[in-house]
């Protein structure tokens, strides 16, 4: 059974092994959602991928939007028109779309709408680990937080009900550890997707003039009062171990931390009551007050910000409850990075005055000795990746003496020798910052961003730089896909799940934005690429270069499918002088030293797909045998 079959199967009550991200997709499908829009981003990528595949089969609408804000507007408009909608994003994507979400909170929705915020606590694949629970406060919107794959599905289904009860969007917040956990998921009943609706004009609601906005803010706050009642009554929030548990200590927790608490209590042989919060905005003041009143000490366990801690303390203060509240402020748990079972066990043991039943110190000491032997394995560009060739050309053309603002994508990995860049911030920021650098420095600047990032947020910065007459090289690394997040299509590919549309070419966009220097190169023609970058560096203005070559993973998959053989490169030992130019300038995982000579790993090398090392070897010692 393939993934879509598993996600669409009509077997309520049956157990399946599912990734939480797949369970979320199942929840969306069970809820009869009509419109899904997303820009991919880890740890939410599997959600949009699976919905993209399921949509044509289940007959609902799913699009990859150019960015999260557009996705929010697409989903929001559907919900205003009476069609259930869903927009998943990674945590920093909500930074892009929050402007729109604030408006949808004010106007409310006419059908259920869920915004899924997948927060990358760690962080594992992001530029920060911001806590998006804070956004639910900012937007005054309800928030649900699952702990397990099963809850991930169930809370989506429940989220639509709450959204329609309140006529407001609901935020479901997950974290990487939840998104990327698989486990048993019991399926629910499928609902046929509702695809069409109607938008009822209401100027005093949808034209957010200051007068209307003021009125809508009041309405939003009234709805939030109703949400508070739901928070008190919902069974997504519950007390565990009531009656039997100790009255000395109680624990308040939510999300993935709940799992660690359960295991830590078991290891410590403690029987503490747990208040598990499934709805984390609004928080249930009454339930929390009762829990506080029932215990002498309450330990609050959560990742990142002291979000629950502050509310619990405020509630204790408000109700005049004297329970001692133990949390981050007491140094029990860190405010950065993930929690894990050991951190929770150690914090709990400290708070409860229990001895840790494991000799962690010893294993820590032992492991210190291992660290020096352990080879570092930083993420690298794949063998045959066209980005490597583009960065090589930039490096040669600039002699390593330029500023290199970079961006978010596979190419963002290029931060270490031999192919260094200087900044990686947020989507589209490299080209925006290039403008600033060009104003205040005399250094040449080559800013790089990918094709999908260009469409996401590179275009306004391009227009800005041309309008304000800045001087730098604006290089679009066009590998014809959104590679980093798993090969999703984008406007430059023309591919959708409803058939193909005309490709929107970055060079045409750049010309339309007023760029006069626009050149398209193939980075695998190394000499030509270097020459074009040299020319661009002398241009007095914004020089746009589109370096186009299909992602190696796609190219190889295509060749394999066509039955073509990938012939790896080989080193001619007679010719190889061991100068090391290939190793020191390319950083290709397939090329390594073997004594004083070079070897190429035939398993990793993409040979004829790439061939860059053959072109740069001063001795012409690398080639492919006809095979």
């Amino acid at each position: 059974m393939n993934l879509t079959e598993k996600l669409l199967i009509d077997l309520p009550g049956k157990d399946f092994f599912m990734l939480a991200n797949e369970a979320i997709v199942r929840g969306v499908i069970e809820s009869g959602v009509g419109v899904v829009s997303a820009y991919p981003g880890t740890p939410s990528s599997e959600i949009s991928d699976a919905l993209y595949q399921c949509a044509p089969i289940r007959k609902f609408y799913m699009e990859f939007s150019t960015n999260e804000k557009v996705a929010m507007e697409v989903a929001g408009a559907a919900a205003l028109s009476g069609v259930r909608s869903f927009t998943p994003t990674k945590h920093v994507g909500l930074n892009v779309s929050i402007d729109a979400l604030m408006c949808f909170a004010y106007v409310g929705v006419d059908a259920g709408m869920i915004v899924l915020s997948a927060d990358d606590v760690g962080p594992w694949s992001s530029q920060n680990e911001q806590d998006n629970r804070c956004y639910s406060n900012l937007a005054t919107l309800p928030m649900l937080e699952p702990s397990t794959p099963q809850e991930a599905k169930d809370m989506v289904v429940e989220g639509y009900k709450i959204s329609e009860q309140l006529n407001e969007p609901v935020i479901v917040r997950t974290t990487t550890r939840v998104n990327h956990t698989s486990g048993n998921v019991t399926l629910g009943t499928l609902t046929a997707p509702k695809l069409s609706g109607a938008f009822k004009k209401q100027a005093d609601r949808f034209i957010l003039s200051p007068t209307v906005a003021k009125k809508r803010h009041e309405i939003l706050l009234q709805r939030f009062e109703r949400a508070k009642r739901i928070a008190e009554e919902t069974n997504l929030t519950f007390v565990e171990g009531e009656d039997s548990g100790s009255k000395d200590f109680g624990i308040i927790t939510s999300g993935v931390s709940y799992n660690y608490v359960k295991e830590a209590l078991n290891e410590l042989d403690l029987n503490f009551e747990i208040l598990k919060l499934g709805m984390t905005n609004p928080l249930p003041e009454g339930k929390i007050a009762r829990f506080l009143a029932n215990h002498d000490n309450v330990i609050v366990i959560e990742e990142l910000e002291p979000y629950l801690e502050h509310f619990v303390k405020a509630t204790a203060n408000e109700y005049g409850i004297n329970a001692k509240i133990l949390a981050k402020r007491d140094g029990l748990f860190p405010r950065f990075g993930e929690l894990d079972p050991r951190l929770v066990l150690e914090g709990l043991a400290k708070a409860a005055g229990k001895k840790v039943p494991f000799d962690f110190q010893r294993v820590d000491q032992e492991f210190e000795k291992v660290k020096s032997v352990l080879p570092k394995r930083p993420p690298v560009l794949c063998p045959g990746c066209p980005h490597r060739a583009t960065f090589y050309a930039i490096r040669v053309a600039t002699g390593g003496k330029a500023l290199y603002p970079n961006d978010i994508g596979c190419y963002g990995i290029v931060s270490m020798p031999p192919l260094e860049t200087d900044t990686v911030f947020c989507m589209g920021s490299g080209v925006g910052m290039a403008s600033g650098f060009s104003i205040v420095t005399d250094q040449p600047i080559v800013a790089t961003l990918g094709d999908s990032t260009f469409f996401h947020s590179g275009v306004p910065a391009l227009i800005n730089s041309i309008y304000n007459n800045h001087k730098f090289v604006y290089a679009i690394l066009d590998n014809e896909t959104t590679a980093m997040t798993g090969q999703q299509p984008h406007p430059g590919t023309g591919v959708t799940n409803r058939g193909t549309t005309e490709k929107i070419r970055p060079e045409e966009v750049a010309k339309g934005c007023g760029a006069k220097f626009v050149k398209v190169i193939d980075p695998f023609f190394v000499k030509e690429a270097v020459k074009t970058f040299r020319e661009a560096l002398t241009y007095d203005g914004v020089a746009v270069i589109i370096s186009r070559r299909e992602c190696a993973l796609l190219a190889i998959a295509k060749k394999r499918k066509e039955g073509q053989k990938i012939v790896p490169c080989e080193v001619d030992n007679e010719r190889c002088t061991g100068c090391g130019v290939c190793v020191s300038t390319l950083g290709c995982p397939a090329i390594s030293w073997s004594g004083k000579k070079i070897i190429i790993d035939p398993v990793q090398c993409d040979g004829t797909v790439c061939g860059v090392c053959m072109q740069i070897c001063p001795q012409k010692a690398i080639g492919v045998t006809s095979g």
């Binding site: 059974m1 157990d15 399946f16 092994f17 594992w124 694949s125 397990t148 990487t176 550890r177 990327h180 956990t181 698989s182 486990g183 048993n184 993935v256 709940y258 799992n259 660690y260 359960k262 295991e263 290891e267 894990d340 079972p341 050991r342 066990l345 494991f358 000799d359 962690f360 294993v363 820590d364 032992e366 492991f367 000795k369 291992v370 032997v373 352990l374 080879p375 570092k376 394995r377 930083p378 993420p379 690298v380 794949c382 963002g412 990995i413 270490m416 590679a483 980093m484 993973l553 090391g580 190793v583 020191s584 950083g587 290709c588 995982p589 090329i591 390594s592 030293w593 073997s594 398993v603």
Partner: protein, 209 residues
């Protein structure tokens, strides 16, 4: 019902680690067990560090195996065995593939990558129960070097006390690799046999067969 059984799988992106974990997860659900698989894969699609914790049993809630609590450390790449050693206690078993993937950063100074003897010596400081398999050799014998992960799953199935039934694992493998079922089943059986042979040789006191 199982109370708690933890398998930590480590390796490098592209070595089939997530698929190996999926085989175990599928088999566990079919056996009616509670299961959690936690996967962490950083930025790289290929070549980065990948870790999967497979946890089976009623007392399991979260996706992470606590330090010292792995029953088995299953390593698909030689040096990566070292990265997860904190999860190992003297009671744990380590199943280690001798396959090496030298990171490109080390290419210039290849001597920094530890050799098999060194890795073995270090791991034995954490537990005496260490098995080294040449999974690449067995995978090639099965018909495809990419089945190294399944060879290792076969070896895992041969460990004393491993709670998932062999036929359910085979069934899960057949369902997950419908186009290459034969080769993968062969790889599984080769891994299973190799471990048993190795047990008889090194640990005759283990009643395995």
């Amino acid at each position: 019902m199982i109370s708690e059984y933890n398998v930590s799988i480590v390796g490098v992106g592209g070595t089939g680690l997530l698929t190996a974990a999926a085989v175990l997860g599928e088999a566990a659900v079919r056996q009616g067990e509670k299961v959690r698989v936690g996967e962490i894969h950083g930025l790289a699609q290929r070549g980065g560090v990948v870790n999967c914790d497979v946890r089976i049993g009623d007392k399991v809630f979260g996706p992470i195996i606590m330090d010292l609590k792995a029953n088995v450390l299953l390593s698909l790449e030689l040096a990566e065995t070292l990265r997860a050693l904190k999860k190992v206690s003297p009671e744990s078993t380590i199943l280690m593939n001798s396959y090496r993937m030298v990171p490109p950063g080390l290419s210039a100074k290849g001597d920094q990558y530890p050799d098999e003897e060194k890795v073995l010596a270090i791991t034995k400081g954490f537990t005496k129960n260490v098995f080294v398999l040449d999974a690449l050799k067995l995978a090639k014998k099965a018909g495809d070097p990419r089945t190294m992960n399944v060879v290792m799953i076969g070896a895992l199935a041969g460990i004393t006390g491993f709670p998932l039934k062999k036929d359910l694992l085979r069934k899960a493998i057949m369902d997950l690799f419908p186009k290459a079922a034969d080769i993968n089943i062969k790889a599984f059986d080769l891994g299973y046999r190799e471990l048993n042979a190795s047990c008889v040789k090194h640990f005759p006191h283990h009643a395995m067969l």
